[in-house]
């Protein structure tokens, strides 16, 4: 018997055919050939049909009360031909498409983040005694045929995506067959968009709470960005579109559009969203968008507002691409940079496509990593820009191709600025580096040092864990404490920092003084000094390698604190029956190499300046009044007729996306 126990030779990938966009592009001669592609999905075993590590598909159609036949991905007939043929009429192919795109999107996230993704945990009903606070959700559930509506949405309470199908009602009978069924689960863009909603919810669950006009818009924009830049990872599509536009990606092309079939089927002249241009009804032709700051000031509907952010990111991408290919264009044109008329050489197409793919991958990676450097609540587009620049500067010292400037410039052209900046240079947009440094040899009473020691333990524990359930369990134990890891992070923060005006100043949260007076209740566990109540979210290790070998070794977590205020007086309320909730939050980034708290990204609950200078504790009036003005605005109520008529005070009962996505 051999002493070696060789693992089975599992294939690296499972190849599955699918649409690059959606079925409508397979119906026109011009795009049919590029629309059928092969997705390469990391190999996984299926203990049950279509229930893998990350997702489970349930093809139940409640509109007819029937289950559809399940695809067997392990059947030789399926394996031998890279999955089923793309087909609108076979539900098993629908399952295949949903599976392939979802897994591709997850893989892109994990590659960018350098860690495994977790779905948002399920918060349990606190009304029942003895119920734990939350529960691990191993798999996102996907319902490919859940609704008969031009809609698809991620449901945070069900941790599920519900895809709809509906009858096409095109503006013009030649665009798409009227009354034909359109399945949202066959659209790469819609699947990627919804899965991104779910992943983002797993990273920042409070991004569902609209406390300013950017929050829900950011959710939409981020989901669109991921869907959009995934287009560039399909080489056939990319080469085709580069050839067609002669390398000019600022002209009309499929890469900059989302959901062609869906858009046409609900009566638009083209895709649901186009971030480069649009159909001009008067001129009867496609015209490029001109960026202006008016839109960011006036547009409030989340998708439309989100489109401003996506257009800014896409604009940055185009600049980066143009920079990367300018030499190629000069080489190909005898130095003039102006290409001769007619088709361009296939070699040039390939080289341009390589550059586009590379630029897109960089941009997508930057966009995803930025989320680690954002506040846990109340995000604005300006906060996101700062996150983008900061995340990139952490890892890439030499910005040779001016990526960062391309982003800042694209945001500036749309009037999107981070709050409270004096200048708009790259280094001022970067978040202020706190570097609250502590000497490595100091021990004992330094609370910050003890905290960092504890976080290093966490990093050690989590670094080599690959099982997501284990990652969840260990992380959870570090937060709440356990026999294994002794006192948890939550109790430690409470014990070490309650009473510290300095910590209040750093985090913008009420940790010292009479916090009850700003509506913060006490955590109420320890007898002597009651720490204030707060919540820890999203403890994670950020471990990355930059292009020049730079290493990032950071532990990140977010604190959230809720103040319960009397709706009239805005003073503290005694009982939590009728109150206005006002939240503050802070993302803390600890650098394990320099042993310092590197960034504190705060949406302050309190007035940080007065905590610092006089040590007094006051609510942050500026944020509070901005939030109240936003929530009281009439535009919120008149925007969506569905919400006006069918919701109680516009509250969605935990389903923020169900109505938002409806057409």
């Amino acid at each position: 018997m051999s002493p070696y126990n060789s693992p089975p030779d599992l294939p690296a990938f499972r190849k599955l055919r699918g649409y690059a966009f959606d079925p409508s592009l397979s119906q026109t001669l011009a795009t049919n050939r590029i629309n059928n592609i092969v997705y390469k999905v990391a190999w996984e075993e299926f203990p049950e049909p279509l229930a893998g590590e990350y997702i489970e598909i349930v093809d139940y159609d409640p509109t007819v009360g029937r289950y559809y036949e399940a695809l067997d991905l392990n059947s030789p007939l399926v394996l031998a031909q890279d999955g089923l043929d793309p087909s609108e009429s076979d539900p098993r192919f629908h399952q295949q498409m949903v599976y392939a795109v979802t897994m591709t999107t997850i893989a892109n996230f994990e590659r960018a983040l350098g860690r495994r993704i977790l779905w948002a945990s399920r918060l349990l009903d606190s009304r029942k005694k003895g119920t734990p606070y939350e529960e691990y959700v191993p798999r996102l559930r996907l319902y490919p045929h859940a609704l008969r509506e031009a809609n698809a949405y991620y449901s945070p309470p069900k941790k599920a995506i519900l895809f709809g199908y509906f009858s096409a009602a095109p503006a013009n009978d030649t665009l798409i067959m009227p009354n034909s069924l359109v399945f949202s689960c066959l659209s790469h863009d819609i699947i990627a968009h919804e899965v991104t909603h779910a992943i983002l919810d797993g990273m920042h669950r409070n991004y569902n709470e609209p406390t300013n006009p950017d929050v829900l818009a950011f959710h939409e924009a981020f989901s669109d960005i991921v869907a959009l830049f995934q287009h560039f990872s399909f080489p056939e599509v990319l080469r085709h579109q580069i050839a067609r536009t002669r390398g000019n990606l600022s002209s009309q092309n499929l890469l900059g559009q989302l959901a062609q079939e869906f858009g046409t089927a609900i009566g638009s002249y083209g895709s649901l969203r186009d971030f480069i241009g649009g159909w001009d009804l008067v001129l009867q032709k496609w015209v490029p968008h001109q960026p202006s700051s008016d839109e960011y000031r006036t547009v409030t509907e989340p998708h439309a507002r989100g489109s401003i952010l996506v257009a800014a990111v896409f604009d940055a991408f185009l600049h980066i691409y143009d920079t990367r290919v300018s030499d190629l264009l000069r080489i190909a044109s005898g130095g003039s940079g102006v290409l001769p008329d007619g088709e361009i050489h296939p070699d040039l197409v390939n080289r341009l496509a390589d550059e586009a793919a590379k630029a897109a991958k960089h941009v997508l990676t930057m966009c995803i990593r930025a989320v680690d450097y954002c506040p846990p609540i109340d995000i604005t587009f300006g906060d996101y820009l700062r996150g983008l620049i900061t995340a990139d500067m952490e890892l890439v010292a030499d910005d040779r191709l001016d990526y960062r400037l391309a982003f800042i410039d694209a945001f500036r052209r749309r009037g999107i600025y981070p709050e409270g900046l004096r200048t708009l240079s790259v280094d001022s947009v970067r978040l202020p580096v706190r570097n609250i440094r502590l000497e490595p040899n100091r021990t004992g009473d330094d609370p910050m040092m003890a905290l960092i020691d504890f976080l290093r333990d966490y990093a050690e524990q989590i670094k080599y864990r690959n099982d997501r359930a284990e990652i969840y369990r260990v992380t959870r134990s570090f937060i709440t404490g356990s026999p294994e890891y002794e006192t948890g992070l939550h109790a430690r923060l409470g014990a070490k920092f309650s009473g510290s005006a300095m910590f209040s100043y750093i985090t913008g949260l009420a940790f010292h003084g009479d916090y009850a007076q700003v509506g913060v209740t006490s955590a109420g566990q320890q007898a002597e000094q009651q720490p204030p109540s707060f919540e820890i979210q999203n403890l994670r290790l950020v471990n990355r390698v930059g292009p020049e070998g730079t290493l990032t070794n950071q532990v990140v977590f977010s604190l959230i604190q809720t103040s319960h205020l009397d709706p009239e007086t805005l003073g503290p309320v005694a009982r939590k029956t009728n109150y206005t909730a006002f939240k503050g939050g802070c993302t803390l980034i600890f650098d394990l190499d320099t042993l310092s708290l590197r960034y504190a990204i705060s949406k302050p609950l309190i007035d940080q300046e007065s905590a610092h200078t006089t040590g007094s504790l006051q609510l942050n009036e500026a944020r509070l009044s901005a939030q109240r003005a936003y929530l009281g605005a009439e535009s919120l109520q008149t925007e969506n007729p569905l919400s006006q008529f069918f919701l109680v005070d516009g509250r969605t009962g935990g389903e923020p996306f169900a109505l938002l996505h409806q057409h």
Binding site: P49, V58, T63, V64, S167
Partner: protein
Amino acid sequence: MPPSPITHCEVRMYRMGTGDCFALRFFAGEVLTFRMMIDCGTWQGSSEKLRKYVSDLKTYLDNHVDLLVVTHEHKDHVYGFEACQTLFGQDFTVSQTWMAWTEDETAPRASQWLKDFGDKKKALMLAGNQWNRMTAGRRGTDTRFSPFQLAARRHFAQALSGFTELQFAANENGEYVGMLKGMSIVRNQIANNKIRFCHPGEIIASFPAAPGIRFYVLGPPTSWEAVKTESGEDGESYSHNLAESDAFAAAVLAGDSPPANAAPFEERFLSDPNDTSHPFRKRYEQKNAEWRQIGDDWLNSAGSLALRVNSMTNNLSLALAIEFEESGRVMLFPGDAEYGSWRSWHGIDWAQPARSGDKHLTEDLLNRTVFYKVAHHLSHNGTARRLGLEMMNHPDLVAMATLDYNVISNGWKTTMPNREIVNELLRRTKGRLIVMNEDQLEVGDVPLSSRVAAAKERMTAAEQAAFDAAFAASELYFQFTVKG
């Protein structure tokens, strides 16, 4: 000698509750020559309560109208005919009845459409019943839902009922029976099926008793594209398309045990309903995973179907401009037309040019409008901005709005009154905005009555005096005399 032309018109708005009921008396000098009635509806109310209004109306019109106009089939425009059927049945005569061309069941273009639309209404009814069952009794306390979610579900069901009641009639079992009763009473009893179905672009000046009065038919549009559009300008680009609800309606109409062909796939892909070992079924029905089930969620689509049906019917309103030929002054009665209808008016191929300039006649008519019956009770969608209100720039403009918070569905309160529409109307009318009942109405946290009072201060003394002389009020109605 030709008859002397009409000199003025008394417009009386009955205050029965949110909804339209107008009586118009046209005078040539001192002589009453022509009587007209537009709609008779309100959101709700018993026969006893509505009786006094209808009796007064009959007295006012001396039991006869030369022209009855029914703008569209919504309860708040026709319920009075149902509730006071007997009153309208006794010694009350109508010479002519007008409805929109889309009500003509014998016209080939309208009939197929009416059938399809009827199916949608039926589906809406069934979905509404389903929601009522889902939120009543034991299911109303389903522990899978939080208390807030349960309340939200009840609210949804109620909002849906609000829409269904507005659209069509049901029998005591809650089953769809078709046309609103008020509508059929007008057709069969009051009009004796002698109805003129009006098309946009028609200019009607055929009443000998109303010399110098011309009726311009503006809507409903002849293109369904326009009918479908609820709103569409900058920032109001929410449009509904009824055909998008086809698949949903089909599933609802198929009922609780739908045939296999109701599914979007061939039968060979469907599970056997008795097969409990189907992998998807096992996963879906797994114990302790009930929280992930989606059984009812698809029925939320009834909300968008309701909005679509509602907007569609509003856009089918017969919209009329009534012109005093000599002076060119115009009274505008658009029913509840929404954006799509307003927009279509500007594309009508009128057989007649504008009075002044080379603008389109519709714009010209709006420029000359001195009396505006506000469409759709001051809602955001009811009055087009650029293609409507902004063209009403006559210095004498007076507006009447049929909104009353004491008689209204709760769901409507969030959309009516729309602050911007009210502000713009107050500005253009200098406070001559006559609302059925100002009680409880607020605009941006300020009571509407104080806003109206403030706006009135912009009138000159002469304008104020003229307005006071032309305005009359009683518990039953508000009345304004429009000078010809």
